[in-house]
Amino acid sequence: MSWVQVLFVLLSLVAVASALLVVTTSNLVHAALWLVVTLGSIAGVFLLLAAEFVAWVQVLIYVGAVVVLLLFALMLTRAPTGRQDDLNVGRVVPAAIVAVLVGAVLVSTVVAGFHDVQLDLERAVVGSASVTGGTVFRLWVLPFEVLSVLLLAALVGAIVLSKLRADEPAEAGED
């Protein structure tokens, strides 16, 4: 095995182990912090696969923004230090089954789609910003646009929901 493969395996192991810790730890904030490790090691995996730009997007969006948002929400609502034993709910077994099934679907999709594709690192094109941009806006432009419409719908939905909340006390006051 070359050193790239060794690193790949190590990073994958870190990603999987920390992902397991995210769902098994009995401390909500620890879960968010383990998520940082998971997302960071996935960024490392992207780097090893020569997808440089995607790796830093992963760090900027997921580690820098999403996890900070998560921590912010946790700190605003419930963030006691120490163990919380009420985190495990009765739905553990069905949830685990669903997770395993979703994982199986995803893994089989990826394997069916890419099982004979080999990345030749010696000749691979480094996924720089221009290469990534060209691919997204030429080859994958339709999925990209569909995704942006989806995000727009989510945005509008969030605004509508927060508007509903804001209007309620005012109406109650008028009555």
Binding site: N27, V29, H30, L33, V36, E52, F53, W56, V57, V59, L60, V63, G64, A65, V67, V68, L69, L71, F72, M75, L76, A79, T81, G82, V126, S128, A129
Partner: protein
Amino acid sequence: MSDLLEALLRVLVVLVAFLLLPLLVGQAEHKAMAHMQSRVGPMYAGMFHGWAQLVADGVKFVQKEDVVPRDADPAVFRIAPAVALLPYFVVMLVIPLGPGLVGQDLDVGLFFVLAVMGIGVIGTLMGGWSSANKFSLLGGIRVAAQLMAYELPFVLVGASVAMAAGTLSLTGIVEEWQPWWLLWQGIGLVVFFVAGLAELQRPPFDMPVADAEIVFGPYTEYGGLRFALFILAEYAGIVVLSALTAVLFLGGWRGPFEDSLGWLWTLVKTFLVAFVVIWVRVAYPRMREDQLQRLAWQGLVPLALLQLALTAVGVVATA
């Protein structure tokens, strides 16, 4: 083998700069602030105008006891300062001083810098949460709210410069830079600087550490070396922000005699911006939380979008 040696040497040089430049800025702050307030500042340490004051402070911090509060989350509490400090070191590795004078030139340098700088905040949040102190927690919440508000204009004007230069490489941006960009990217310069100040929680954006309300925010329970690391992170942040402002908006090593004195120009511009950071601290009172949020969402974000539109028009018109 020589490649490895060269890489090690570059990292070593950046490490020395990383340890030295924040101290220089800190000392400059001591003295400049004092004179702006009609004081003299440190005078005794090191005999000459107190130049060794921060060295003495460092020695004092090292000698102090390492205290972890009883109810704190010890592991998170202990590693938080390192998480806050390390990203700035990593960022410094890719900021160019001159053509070729860079720890590691990256094709997506600007993007890398913006991505890694965001990680430092997690260290502050970890410290704020794990201290098991309500002031720390409040400070942490304020840090997070501030970061989310100011990250958007920060990244948007960064994107504007990248669009103008047609590259994400920091070296490439400086090489494309023209003096009239000071006007064209002027709004971007102001937005970048203000948003950067807010991300560093420097006055007047120091609501997260407002001493009259929440003691010292996320750092309340810290003492000794770990506290010193947080403070070092703040000053390293000033150096990184100033260097980035110089490289992105002020033309880095461009100037008279740039072939021989380019690196000096970058340093001079960096220190000028750092001086303004200090000056702003003395000149403006602390902003309230609602003022902070209003400035970001109603002031900086629209301005950043305007700059982005201006840049796009400029790029299309000159293309």
